[in-house]
């Protein structure tokens, strides 16, 4: 494990499932987290929201989200993210799906003690 992550894992409200991961990186610029419940469905959209000010992550930081088979369900769309503005990715951009699997967040190249939010909506 590296860094700290606070999670909102909303799987039972309505038809859209929501996963909100608020991360703070370690000195090595990384943060990891494994969801406590499995998710199921297509990734509708993924939003990458960098902190501002003193905890703004390094530019071109990277995020992956792996299922139990090790597949990055972000399909590489979390690579080289801007640290200046929210980046939104959609299913039409190539987001994949999850089939009854927990998800493993991995943030790298974020900088020392930096932060941000990864927010996913699935159905």
């Amino acid at each position: 494990m590296a860094g700290t992550v606070t999670a909102v894992e909303q799987t039972s409200v309505g038809t859209v499932k929501r996963l909100k991961l608020t991360w703070v990186s370690s000195a090595g610029g990384a943060a990891d987290y494994t969801t406590t419940v499995p998710f199921d469905g297509d990734l509708i959209c993924a939003s990458f929201i960098p902190d501002g000010g003193g905890t703004q992550p390094s530019n071109l930081y990277d995020v992956t989200l792996a299922d139990s088979d090790g597949v990055d369900v972000l399909n590489g769309l979390g690579a080289n993210l801007s640290n200046a503005a929210t980046v939104n990715k959609l299913k039409s951009d190539g987001l994949l799906a999850v089939a009854g699997s927990t998800l493993v967040l991995s943030v790298t190249n974020g900088g020392n003690a930096k932060g941000g939010v990864v927010r996913l909506l699935l159905r």
């Binding site: 909303q10 409200v13 309505g14 038809t15 859209v16 499932k17 929501r18 909100k20 509708i44 959209c45 939003s47 929201i49 929210t86 939104n88 959609l90 039409s92 939010v117 927010r119 909506l121 159905r123």
Partner: protein, 252 residues
């Protein structure tokens, strides 16, 4: 400002109509209840010819300020009749209502006024438009000794301001002449629809319109509209002052 959100359930699509009325800065904020699904469509309509300013002196005297141009003018409010009331006491001078309609978007407007004068055939009502403090337009209404209405059409430029000036004559007025102003209405006369820039910010701070809520624009899921699973806030900026509009979302 005034706001209402109506959710109509179709199967399987919900139609969400978010009504707004912008403030004088052209901004509005509307709370949207929790929605669940992908936004498949977005559209915005606005209503032209809205009344931007409806200043009835019978009910709202205090919001206007009279600036006496000289000591020779006596500026009073007539509490009994509820109208703005000027009385000349000596050499006539021009006096002004200093209420300014400021920070309005460029566009076409009509000013409607109702006024009355007494004892001065030369009394006039001036509607004066400024841009960055430079005079760009004056419209003058003819005098009347009975309640009469005047109307001016003008184009308000960017950074424009409107000043309504009370003018009792051109030097030939008799002391004691009176001037009454009953109401002023400023109407947006633009025929084309104009809305504002819209964002739908959910509880995670994400714009569910994904930047597609710009002026006039409609969008579909193919443009990158996102989804909602929480309550959200519709924010409107850049609309006309006090303009009304409706933001419609289709959520499935």
């Amino acid at each position: 400002m005034i706001m209402a959100t109506t959710v109509t359930n179709f199967n399987p699509t919900q139609r969400v109509d978010i009504a707004y009325t912008a403030d004088n800065s052209g901004e509005a904020t509307v709370s949207v209840p929790a929605l669940d699904g992908v936004i498949t469509g977005y559209y915005q309509t606005s209503r032209p010819n809205d009344t931007l300013l409806n200043q009835n002196f019978a009910t709202n005297l205090d919001s206007w300020t009279f600036a006496q141009s000289t000591e020779e003018w006596l500026t009073t409010f007539d509490g009994k009749s509820g109208v703005a009331h000027l009385t000349s006491t000596a050499i006539p001078q021009r006096s002004a209502i200093t209420q300014i309609v400021a920070d309005m978007n460029a566009g076409d407007y009509v000013v409607n006024i109702e006024y009355q004068t007494s004892g001065d055939a030369n009394a006039t009502v001036d509607v004066i438009i400024f841009q960055d403090a430079t005079h760009v337009y004056t419209g003058t209404s003819a005098t009347s000794a009975v309640w009469a209405t005047g109307s001016h059409s003008f184009t308000l430029p960017a950074n424009g301001q409107m000043l309504v000036q009370l003018a009792l004559g051109d030097g030939s007025v008799n002391p004691g002449a009176e001037w009454y102003l009953n109401y002023i209405r400023l109407v947006d006369n633009t025929t084309a629809e104009r809305g504002g820039d819209v964002t739908i910010i959910d509880d995670d701070g994400v714009d569910a319109l994904n930047g597609n809520g710009a002026l006039y624009q409609s969008a579909s899921f193919k443009d990158g509209l996102m989804a909602l699973s929480t309550t959200s806030t519709a924010n409107v900026t850049g609309a006309r002052a006090m303009a009304s509009g409706v933001i419609t979302l289709w959520v499935r």
